[in-house]
């Protein structure tokens, strides 16, 4: 600190947000008496243009060199005021916010006490602002490429947008084909257009796009680095089929010795596939894959006299020697679009999903009604005696959603509409069926949803309010035991087919991604966005964005909208070619650091490493902060026994006087 601090204090009314509870004039008068304070003013909206001009003019006129804005949380307007004082020629880090809104006026009622507290908060800010240091932000180059994890509709859309804008995209998909959950759906609500018809062109586009490198049947193993400069390591799992030679003709699958023996993942286990398979006819890439867990040759070392697939493959693409391949590349931004898992209906044992074949989930229903599904779109059930067309069909909603007993208190947002759609499809295929839907509430909030729900009801689908307690078997029928809560009538409803409107859950394997990218979960266990309203696609890790159901249940339009949002956010560093690195990072005192490495372990951003330095002739280890990775969170500081690592602007010697001014310390 070279020059004497000259502090300006600006107390904001925030309309009546603050001034209704805090006597702002008294606070300003009080501030003027505090040491080093030259100017103290109030204004109705300090963040407005005239408010900012007020501050800027004072900086010039009175030579102020430290600014305190007593208003809202720094999360709200710290960037605004930093920019303002920088424009007036001050170092932007010579600003301190006193939060007299969220932490005072909004949480208190008594004006006298709230005013007294505001005074303390301002005094506390004055005590700190004098000790702030000038910091310089740095810029580093950003790699003009993006990594997208997951190639469902969210990943595909984000990839296409970024690639169309001219940036390289690495699209990594765990399964052999892109398409994700949307590819499994039959029709989409509320417009009833065919899911595959609108999705497959996009799938083909992303495989053929010159800017997209599609890494299917691959998994991200490691991500290091930081925004603008992520180092990515991807494992391309062995398909045992030469990707370039395979023509996708299907001769191999037709000849496989264990042909159609294994449950098809794509058909929800209702259809069968061979050990060498294409997940579904429109799969992209249209390349066959050998499942190492079901292939005779790979599990037992022999397959008859020799693997038949190899014999019949004219392209000579089968290669049992193939090994996993590691691909490494660098990207500037990452989009996580890993999707969801359907709720596992066996966790509601009262519905007998594991016991009765004619209790099926919504996802299975999608495959059953699909023309490309295991029955070719015919809805048939086996009732124990014969195969029949189900005439009595019941849907149960909120299975695994809005249900604290399974740990899912949230609404899955799509079940109301997909159940309505499936009821409509049944009506279409079985005109004389009796269809009823058991519901807790009907939430038809989206564009065209209410109209669609109305239409389905008019098609003689009965909506009965009640949450079934049990499903059991009576003769050839399933009995749904339920109370119609609108008429308070207990019912035992005999049906042929029960469809469980299962909800959406976070993926079982999401922890892998969380650990890779240091992401957090919200209470519903989906990935946590940086701000629920204003930063819905961002995460706490800069340069990492969320798209689709991995962030929370969504329908297709919302998923696509979020994917486009994530794509445009991800493109900001790519387009700028540079990223700004915050100056508020941790700093190590190498003279006192004992190199224990606690901070290295603690840092949630892997921003710290131990390096060897020469200390007066002795080689010693000390911690070093990668400023590009550090978020200034201060966790390292809390864990340091010798106080040798501290975040700039939040050093002990800066915040202890701040606390002391509150009257807490002596």
């Amino acid at each position: 600190m070279t020059d004497k601090p000259k502090v300006g204090v600006y107390v904001c009314h925030c309309g009546i947000n603050i001034s209704a509870t805090v006597d702002v004039e008294t606070v300003a008068d009080y501030a003027l008496k505090l040491p080093n304070v030259e100017v103290a003013r109030t204004y109705s909206y300090m963040c407005s243009d005239p408010g900012q001009v007020l501050i800027k003019n004072d900086i010039k006129e009175h030579g102020l060199n430290r600014i305190i804005v007593a208003s809202c949380s720094p999360r709200m307007h710290e960037p605004t005021f930093r920019k303002a004082i920088q424009e007036a020629g001050l170092n932007p880090y010579y600003l301190e916010m006193a939060n007299i809104r969220e932490q005072c006026s909004w949480v208190h009622e008594d004006m006298e006490e709230a005013t007294a507290k505001s005074k303390k908060l301002v005094a506390s800010a004055v005590a700190k602002v004098r000790l702030l240091e000038a910091l310089e932000s740095k810029e580093v180059d950003a790699e003009p490429a993006a990594l997208i994890i997951g190639a469902g509709i969210a990943g595909i859309q984000a990839a296409l947008d970024i690639a169309d804008a001219g940036f390289k995209v690495f699209l990594v998909e765990k399964t052999p084909s892109v398409g994700g959950r949307m590819a499994q759906l039959d029709k989409t609500f509320p417009t009833l257009d065919c899911s595959a018809c609108i999705l497959t062109p996009k799938m083909v586009d992303c495989a053929s796009h010159p800017n997209i490198e599609l890494l299917s049947y691959s998994e991200v193993e490691e991500i290091g680095g930081y925004i603008g400069n992520f180092d990515v390591k991807v494992r391309k799992k062995a398909r045992y089929v030469d990707f370039d030679k395979c023509t996708g003709c299907g001769d191999c699958a037709a000849e496989c010795r264990v042909k159609d023996r294994f449950p098809s993942e794509f058909d929800q286990g209702m259809g069968k596939r061979s050990a060498i398979y294409l997940p579904f006819p429109q799969a992209v890439p249209a390349k066959y894959t050998i499942d190492p867990e079901s292939c005779l040759y790979l599990t037992r070392g022999k397959c008859g006299k020799g693997p038949k697939c190899q014999e019949v493959c004219k392209a000579e693409a089968i290669n049992f020697e193939q090994e996993d391949e590691i691909v490494e590349f660098k990207v500037g931004a990452v989009i996580v679009a890993t999707g969801f898992d359907p709720f596992d209906a066996s966790r509601k044992p009262e519905y007998g999903y594991n016991d009765y074949p004619n209790v099926i989930t919504g996802m299975e229903m999608e495959r059953l009604v699909s023309a490309s599904g295991p029955t070719g779109g015919k809805v048939k059930v086996f009732n124990g005696e014969e195969e029949i067309e189900p005439k009595e069909v019941a849907f149960i909603k909120c299975v695994g959603s809005r249900d604290a007993s399974v740990g899912n208190e949230y609404c899955s947002r799509v079940c109301c509409m997909y159940v309505a759609k499936q009821a409509h499809l049944i009506r279409d295929k079985i005109p004389d069926a009796n269809i009823r839907v058991y519901y807790i509430d009907v939430r038809a909030f989206g564009k065209g949803f209410e109209e669609f729900y109305d239409r389905v009801r008019r098609e003689n689908v009965r909506y009965i309010r009640g949450n079934p307690s049990e499903i059991f078997k009576r003769g050839n029928k399933l009995v749904v035991k339920v109370e119609d809560t609108l008429t308070a009538t207990p019912l035992e409803d005999e049906v042929d087919l029960v469809v469980l409107g299962v909800g959406l859950e976070p993926r079982a394997d999401m922890r892998e991604i969380m650990d890779l990218l240091r992401l957090s979960q919200s209470p519903d266990r989906f990935f946590l966005e940086a701000h629920p309203k204003l930063r819905p696609v961002d995460t706490a890790t800069e340069g990492v964005f969320l798209a689709g159901c991995c962030q929370g249940p969504k329908d297709i339009p919302d998923t696509v909208a979020q994917a486009k949002g994530a794509a445009s956010s991800a493109m900001i560093p790519l387009a700028r070619g540079k990223v700004m690195i915050s100056a508020q990072v941790a700093e190590v005192d190498e003279a006192t650091c004992r190199g224990c490495g606690f901070c290295v372990n603690i840092c949630p951003y892997t921003a710290i490493e131990l390096v060897k330095i020469n200390r007066f002739g002795h080689e010693v280890e000390v911690a070093r902060v990668n400023e590009a990775l550090c978020k200034g969170c201060g966790s390292c500081s809390a864990g340091c026994l010798s106080d040798s690592i501290q975040p700039k602007s939040f050093r002990d010697r800066q915040i202890l006087p701040q606390i002391a001014a509150l009257g807490v310390l002596k």
Binding site: A591, T592, G595, C599, V600, N601, F616, V620, L641, S642
Partner: protein, 326 residues
């Protein structure tokens, strides 16, 4: 303990070219005193001692040795240091390795399985120290005091040090060379060493520690002797900010002792040195032991047993209990 074997082994170690010196115990100048000795050549090894009087944890010297600035061009002495350790001392070495206090390849651990040491204060109380050095040896379960050509049997339950009564690792947890046969770990008493404290209510605890901490003269012996208090610039010495004021009074003494206890949470290996050296007889062992029990009961962690462990204070698991967070 075969002293000849110990001295022979030590002599073989110190003559090695890659060894700077061996840190061990030798007889002190009077009474029950035992002094540390830095053996640099084979002849020095003849002085070495390992007996129930060797209470001191020599691991503290590994980090206590000052790294004085070297003239330009002069190479630092990178030879290894050999160290005699009991079970508890070896845990200090292990914990130092875990937190990079020393490199594993910089130290040669000479393990001495330990049947337990005597509490020299209790011993001096019953058999006052004399001007000349006395000897104590292990004798089956018990100890025997050799003084004035007399052999006095010292019953184990009367003279065993408190830390040994609670010891779960009498055999060194790491060692490069072991001298003597492993000791059979003894059955631990049912108490966990902190029952007396835990039996008190909050007010009684406050009163107890108020009395104890009021005695503290802030000599920092506990800190200096502790093998795991080795920051070169202790925050308790800092002036800006001043975490602990230099005034010696109950408030500042409490701040000092509690800060030290917290810094040792999940790190203290219960060698008991702090309590042994405290001139004010503050039961620091109880304080640190209580912390260690909390860590062990809540997190199942015991420091200084696995050199590959993650440091406790710097590790986090999503299912860590957090019922103590208000």
């Amino acid at each position: 303990m075969d002293l000849e074997q110990l001295r022979k082994t030590a002599a073989e170690v110190v003559v090695r070219e890659d060894v700077k010196y061996l840190i061990g115990w030798k007889q002190g100048s009077y009474g029950y005193r035992v002094a540390p000795v830095f053996v640099e050549d084979a002849s020095g090894a003849a002085e070495l001692l390992f007996s129930p009087l060797c209470t001191a944890n020599l691991a503290t010297y590994l980090t206590l040795v000052e790294k004085t600035p070297l003239p330009r061009g002069q190479e630092a002495d990178k030879r290894k240091v050999a160290l005699l350790v009991k079970g508890c001392d070896s845990r200090a070495v292990t914990q130092l390795i875990v937190e990079h206090g020393i490199n594993r390849d910089q130290v040669i651990v000479v393990g001495c399985p330990c049947p337990g040491v005597v509490d020299t204060e209790k011993l001096a109380e019953k058999y006052p120290e004399q001007g000349k050095p006395a000897e104590v040896e292990w004798n089956g379960e018990n100890f025997v005091l050799l003084c004035d050509d007399k052999e006095t049997e010292l019953p184990r339950d009367q003279f065993l040090a408190e830390k040994c009564r609670l010891c779960r690792h009498p055999n060194p947890v790491i060692s490069d060379i072991t001298v003597g046969e492993p000791v059979e770990p003894w059955t631990l008493a049912d108490d966990n060493g902190v029952e007396e404290i835990e039996g008190k209510n909050l007010e009684e605890r406050q009163a107890y520690w108020e009395e104890q901490f009021s005695k503290c003269i802030r000599c920092y012996s506990c800190r200096n002797v502790c093998p795991l208090c080795y920051c070169q610039d202790c925050i308790l010495d800092r002036l800006n900010p001043t975490w602990v004021n230099r005034a010696v009074n109950f408030s500042e003494n409490t701040a000092f002792n509690i800060a030290r206890a917290f810094h040792l949470a999940g790190r203290c290996i219960e060698c008991g040195e702090c309590e042994r050296v405290c001139p004010a007889n503050i039961p620091l062992g109880k304080l640190n032991r209580k912390m260690a029990r909390e860590v062990r009961d809540k997190y199942g962690f015991e420091p200084g047993v696995d050199p590959e462990a993650e440091p406790f204070q710097a590790s986090f698991k999503p299912d860590d209990p957090e019922d103590f967070i208000l």
